[in-house]
């Protein structure tokens, strides 16, 4: 092979391979557009006012809505936040501000481990922890499952954003004679506020769509479920049930529910990222 043809083939390989990487990117971006577009068009088309205000109609009848599932989702997410965020936040403060070597290492390691646990396994855990003991399915069990899922991300995002706060702020506060806890509560944590709030929002967006851990904790319910001790309907579980049903009208409602859920999640997600992008100590992200 002469030098010229070798060079030409090298350039050809160069162009083909670089072109391929571009093509792959276009394929992925295309899939993304298709997925979002399809959901928006199909979801918005099937959405009506009754969806937000009515209970599900009896099996086989058309019409009705998912008002109970919307309230149920809100209730369970509220409980999850109340369980997962405080523990995760305080744990994150420990790791960033107090942690000694070996104990902090263990906490960090197990937090990562917990983060990797499949959501269905978390569901089993919440089942054995709450449902087996109370002997009935409940909204609380669902909140527990999602709350457990929120802990790891809450820990790591709190730790990460606290670490991004310059040490000068801590030292300045301490040099004025402030006890450490006050320095943290009034100087360091407020400085990391944007990041921590973003972390909570992204966390919430992540668990809002979780279905698997709710299947055998909060179960489902076709009626209102007052309090936190009864089986409760949620949007993701309703989507699952309706999608696999044989009724066209239920499929229509599954799309509508998917649209509502996705809009909610994307809104939280995008606004969280916007808060993050204009915050001062964003951990270099």
């Amino acid at each position: 092979m002469t030098e010229a043809t070798r060079l030409r083939s090298r350039h050809m390989v160069n162009n083909v391979m670089l072109g391929l990487t571009g093509l792959f990117t276009i394929i992925i971006a295309g899939a993304l557009l298709f997925i979002l577009g399809y959901l928006f068009i199909n979801g918005a088309r099937n959405l009506d006012f009754a969806f937000f205000t009515q209970l599900p109609k009896p099996t086989g009848e058309t019409g009705g809505g998912m008002a109970n599932a919307i309230v149920g989702s809100a209730k369970i997410l509220g409980m999850a936040t109340a369980i997962g965020v405080p523990i995760g936040f305080l744990g994150g403060v420990y790791l960033a501000e107090y942690g000694n070597k070996s104990f902090a290492f263990a906490v960090r390691y197990l937090t990562d481990l917990l983060n990797g646990v499949p959501s269905i396994v978390i569901g089993i855990f919440a089942f054995t922890l709450v449902v087996l003991k109370a002997k009935h399915f409940s909204a609380f069990a669902g909140g527990m499952a999602l709350g457990l899922m929120m802990i790891p991300i809450s820990v790591r995002s709190t730790e990460e954003f606290l670490r991004a706060v310059p040490n000068g702020l801590r030292e300045g506060a301490l040099a004025l004679g402030t006890p450490k806890w006050r320095a943290l509560a009034t100087v360091v944590i407020p400085a990391a506020k944007d990041g921590i709030i973003t972390g909570i929002m992204l966390n919430l967006a992540r668990v809002a769509g979780e279905t698997a851990p709710l299947l055998f904790t909060s179960l489902n319910n076709r009626f209102w479920s007052p309090g936190i001790n009864q089986p409760t309907s949620t949007l993701p579980v309703m989507i699952y049930t309706y999608a696999l049903s044989p009724y066209d009208d239920w499929h229509r409602q599954a799309w509508a529910a998917g649209f509502v859920l996705l809009m909610l999640i994307l809104t939280i997600n995008v606004s969280a990222r916007m808060i993050l992008s204009r915050s001062r100590y964003s951990g270099g992200r």
Binding site: L39, G116, I120, A212
Partner: protein, 334 residues
């Protein structure tokens, strides 16, 4: 709170390298200034996280003891899953889980790494950031919605277009033989591929971006083409991180429940053909947990959960090891 004693103790406690005063008086002062309370509060929270994780393993272990004692290791090597006869074997589920995840990786790794190369090496930063932002949004879509799309969009599309093509060209191999009804391991694999793509792209891109520019410039200065410098210098440099992203994606797809449950067909069988329906570990737990009527049945399902837990923990551990050794960033928050 702002007395001079407090100040002194605070000062002592903060100066690096000095030992904390162990005296009871100093402790009382720290206590009343609130510091010991704050320390106790955060330490208890951290300990609670440890406790929760240990309790998770404990509960899975205890609540699967009937199945573990009755079947032992045969649980993993037998295929019969017959709740009526009280016989439980996980092999068909393990098979379905591994095959669908493998198909997903086969599709998602080349696509994802290719796109990551484009986004880190070729695309202008603004375009790259915007596209990455969008691709990461894909990761925010709940899995039940992927399941919905899989059932109503992907399945008909594959039936109409992809199946005839595969049947025509590769139909002679056992992999693509037999009839195609819709719910199958192939569809599950493709849905999983779409779901794990964002992780591969986002993590691989970050590791590629972390490769020092000297590496690229060095290769280009020696006369390498852009592709040669990327493929032979930059990618090997970031190799471990890319493997890490793949393992991360693998752990995700092994544990993925809803989307797979909705499209895999839920038939516990071991067939070579990807067109055949199958079943995965997570799917059988999701489907049968509330129907399990006696203890051994429940314990068998929880043992499946234990198997899944062990699998994902090992693979996640490998992923973290690989990623953290190349680039410093938090994988946990993506």
């Amino acid at each position: 709170m702002h007395s001079s004693e407090t100040l002194k103790v605070q000062g002592e406690a903060r100066v690096p390298g000095t030992k904390r005063n162990p005296g009871a008086r100093a402790f009382a002062l720290r206590f009343f200034s609130g510091d010991e309370i704050a320390r106790a509060l955060v330490t208890i929270s951290a300990a609670l996280i440890l406790l929760v994780t240990v309790l998770l393993v404990y509960e899975l272990w205890i609540n699967s003891h009937l199945a573990r004692e009755k079947f032992g290791w045969h649980f993993l090597t037998t295929q019969v899953w017959d709740p009526n006869a009280g016989q439980f074997g996980a092999l068909a589920f393990v098979f379905g889980t591994v095959v669908t995840s493998f198909v997903a990786l086969l599709i998602a790794v080349p696509l994802g790494v290719g796109a990551a190369i484009f986004l880190s090496e070729l695309a202008p930063p603004k375009l790259s950031n915007a596209l990455t932002f969008c691709i990461e949004l894909l990761a925010a879509v709940p899995s039940v919605i992927y399941g919905l799309l899989g059932v109503f969009v992907l399945m008909p599309l594959i039936k109409q277009y992809l199946h005839p093509v595969l049947k025509g060209t590769l139909g002679w191999t056992p992999l693509f033989s037999g009839p195609f009804y819709g719910p199958s391991m192939l569809v599950a694999g493709i849905v999983l591929a779409v779901m794990i793509l964002p992780f591969i792209v986002s993590v691989s891109r970050q590791v590629l971006l972390a490769v020092p520019n000297d590496q690229r410039e060095g290769a280009l200065a020696l006369g390498a083409t852009k592709w040669e410098s990327t493929w032979k210098v930059v990618v090997p440099f970031a190799q471990r991180g890319i493997y890490g992203s793949v393992f991360l994606a693998l752990a995700r797809s092994l544990g993925e429940t809803m989307a797979v449950t909705m499209v895999i067909g839920n038939t516990p069988q071991i067939k070579a053909s990807l067109f055949a329906p199958g079943y995965s570990i997570a799917a059988v737990i999701a489907n049968e947990f509330t129907e399990a009527t006696y203890d051994l049945y429940v314990h068998s399902l929880i043992e499946l959960g234990l198997v899944l837990f062990a699998l994902t923990i090992i693979i996640n551990g490998l992923a973290r090891l690989l990623v953290s050794s190349t680039a410093k960033f938090s994988v946990s928050s993506t």
